[in-house]
Amino acid sequence: MQLVLSEDQELISKTVGDFVEERSPVSRFRALRDSNDDTGYSKALWKEMAELGWVGISIPEEYGGAGMGLADLAIVLEGLGSRLAPEPFFSTVLLGGQMLIRGGTKDQQGTWLPGIAAGEKIISLAYQELGSRYDLNVVETRAEDINNGFSITGEKTLVLDGHVADCFLVVARTAGDSRSSEGISIFLVPSDADGLVVTRQTRVDFRNSAVVSLSGVFVQRNALVGELHRGATLLEDVVDYATAGLCSEMLGGMQQAFKLTMDHVKERKQFETAVGSFQALKHRAADIFIELELARSATMACTRAIDEESENSSKLVSLAKARCSDAYLLASNEGVQMFGGVGMTDEYDIGLYLKRARACELTFGDSSFHRNRWALLGGY
């Protein structure tokens, strides 16, 4: 495992950095939010990212992607995360797309992956339910085996980009009780299916999600992704993958929040002295710096472990997510505090990072969830 960017990766990093600087400053996200935009992201920019090869970066070449690794995708996510870009990477690439790559049939892959890579199709994973918290095995949505197909009924919440998805991967129970890892199956359901209702949600971080209700939605047998009853492992692997991606996004966000804060305290004077010269603040800044560095190391390690299919990749994902959750909150909490009163106003960007930090923390498990998972994986 090499914990340093290759020259190619450095180049991607620079390209993404220039791109967000010019094309996707935070003001763009803000404008989307304030205009109550229908899609909540920029279709044009998404198309452009696809043309730059970013959307399909991890999709196999045969389906129009670049066939690269998560470590490469992570660089893009970090750059976009630094400016809170709301484009549908998580729904479509890290969750939906990745699940098809890992578990889809050739047919399913051929139908969807090229459209994803081209930036033309949005596909989302509907796994979370009210009360499921971070336990992927808590699934109450049921899929009944009927006449050559399945009838799905249940309600999914916080389905990322659900309001613009062309299709959903719905996690449903085909057997077992509502907390068992056995009996979980995954189905491809088009968003215009009869009995499927999508209601857009408004989140604190203004990222896009929806409640998806299914009442007797019929799908054919070939809608099954992965094995019947045995979807739990596939789901866990995909969520691990997306979690590593989320950590990369968080890294970009926390780094930028910290940068904004440091820039501010260097400028801002109080009692005729730059706020940044107060030693108590300096020591806190040094501690944030350290936490950010450690979060970066952990995240780099986990993306590479996934690419290398290392056996401890799940442990490293938990390491990264636990650290990134705490570090992003630290950097943004301290950011607001160091900005002072103006940090509390909607006008300043630091509050947007605080909201995103919280949303990221509570997605795919918070730090104590992942510490517990680390211990369980370590056998104690």
């Binding site: 918290r133 919440t157 949600q201 002072g340 509390m344 909607d346 509570l362 997605t363 918070d366």
Partner: protein
């Protein structure tokens, strides 16, 4: 029968017979309080009657002198009055910065003319006040203020901007700090001035916070003409007045957090945790979360006893130290930790801003969490409070 007992019986009888029945049992919820003013808002229609009844007897400002419309109660009588009001769970007839801030300040520092002009209208709830201290870019360094007041005959001409003026958009008068001598050293050259918000040249715009809308405003002064007789004490002596008032404000905020430990217990953290992450056998399933809850409960208990200790010591005649700084820094950070835990307890259900998929209670908590981040900034930042403790209590050198 002591005089106090007689007083209690009179008050009780009066409250029982006169206070509007619809208000009994409502309690003292600030959000539902009556702030008075030229265009008063009465969340409950009966509050109008309650205000006028209480004001008539001066009981909106129970301890203020009768001469200016107050009830002239002694401290003991005031205590009895509060006890009787809370016995019936009546809301306060009137709340606001007139009663808590500018009223006491004018009674101490104002001229007879100023008292006569302003105190009765505060007591009657006819004029609502706001405070104009902070300025953009000043932060904790209040004395660096830039709003200019230039003498022009018997008037000042005011130019500048004030921020964090709570309820400026709903207030009739503002008490403000302005710079009258730009050549003087920072804390000198500042004047404490009373300004009618209806004066031409004043405009107000509300401040949107990260938690949503807020009572805070930005208030702009453009060639605003204010009579020089509206100065409290003397020109360039405003810092003294402001400091007295500021100490008062901080101890109010500290008290609020000292009190918050006791009040506002809609649901305890263990109850919340049981509803979101209930395990078996009465225990909260997530042992680490449970431990954080215990820590917060213990912090709250220890803080509550510290507040009590300070009060007991004060009653025993001991001098208070820098308790208000301790209360401020610890109370606010405790509250922040509490909201942090609440967010973790509700987990993904803490992600809502409005609408579908979230309970109103969940949406409210998320906004309150965001709002709580300001607690350690407003009313003297935690940093300033720690500086004060280090200097005044511990005697550490500059």
């Amino acid at each position: 029968m002591t005089e106090l007992t007689i007083f209690r019986e009179e008050i009780r009888e009066w409250l029982e017979s006169s206070a509007p029945g619809a208000l009994k049992g409502i309690g003292n919820n600030v959000l539902e309080g009556c702030w008075g003013g030229r265009n008063p808002i009465f969340p409950h229609p009966e509050q109008e009657e309650w205000l006028s009844l209480a004001a008539e007897k001066g009981l909106t400002a129970p301890t203020w002198p009768k001469k200016y419309g107050g009830a002239g109660l002694s401290d003991d009588e005031h205590k009895v009055f509060r006890e009787e009001v809370s016995r019936l769970k009546l809301p306060a007839p009137l709340i606001g910065f007139g009663l808590t801030m500018i009223g006491p300040t004018l009674l101490r520092f104002g001229t007879d003319e100023q008292k006569a002009q302003h105190i009765p209208s505060i007591v009657k709830g006819r004029v609502r006040w706001c405070q104009g201290y902070s300025e953009p870019g000043a932060g904790s360094d209040l004395a660096s203020l830039q709003t200019r007041a230039e003498v022009d005959g018997n008037d000042y001409i005011i130019n500048g901007t004030k921020v964090w003026t709570s309820y400026a958009d709903k207030s009739d008068w503002i008490f403000a700090l302005v710079r009258t001598d730009p050549g003087a050293k920072k804390q000198e050259g500042i004047t404490f001035l009373l300004i009618d918000m209806a004066t031409p040249g004043i405009s107000v715009s509300p401040i949107l916070l990260i938690s949503g809308s807020s009572p805070f405003c930005e208030t702009y002064f453009e060639d605003v003409r204010v009579p020089r007789k509206n100065v409290v004490t003397e020109e360039n002596a405003g810092w003294t007045v402001a400091k007295a008032l500021l100490g008062h404000e901080r101890s109010m905020i500290a008290d609020a957090f000292g009190g918050a430990a006791e009040g506002k217990k809609a649901k305890t953290l263990p109850e919340m945790a049981k509803s979101y992450v209930y395990g078996g056998g009465g225990e909260v399933a997530d042992a680490v979360l449970r431990d954080r809850i215990v820590q917060n409960e213990m912090d709250t208990a220890a803080f509550k006893y510290t507040v009590q200790r300070t009060r007991d010591a004060a009653r025993a005649g001991q001098q208070p130290g820098a308790e208000s700084s301790l209360f401020k820094v610890y109370g606010t950070e405790l509250n922040q930790r509490r909201y942090d835990i609440l967010m973790k307890i509700a987990g993904p259900q803490s992600l809502g801003w409005e609408g579908t998929g979230f309970e109103d209670e969940e949406l409210g908590r998320t906004r309150e969490w965001l709002r709580s981040r300001g607690n350690s900034i407003e009313g003297g930042t935690s940093e300033i409070q720690r500086n004060i403790i280090a200097k005044r209590v511990l005697g550490l050198p500059d």
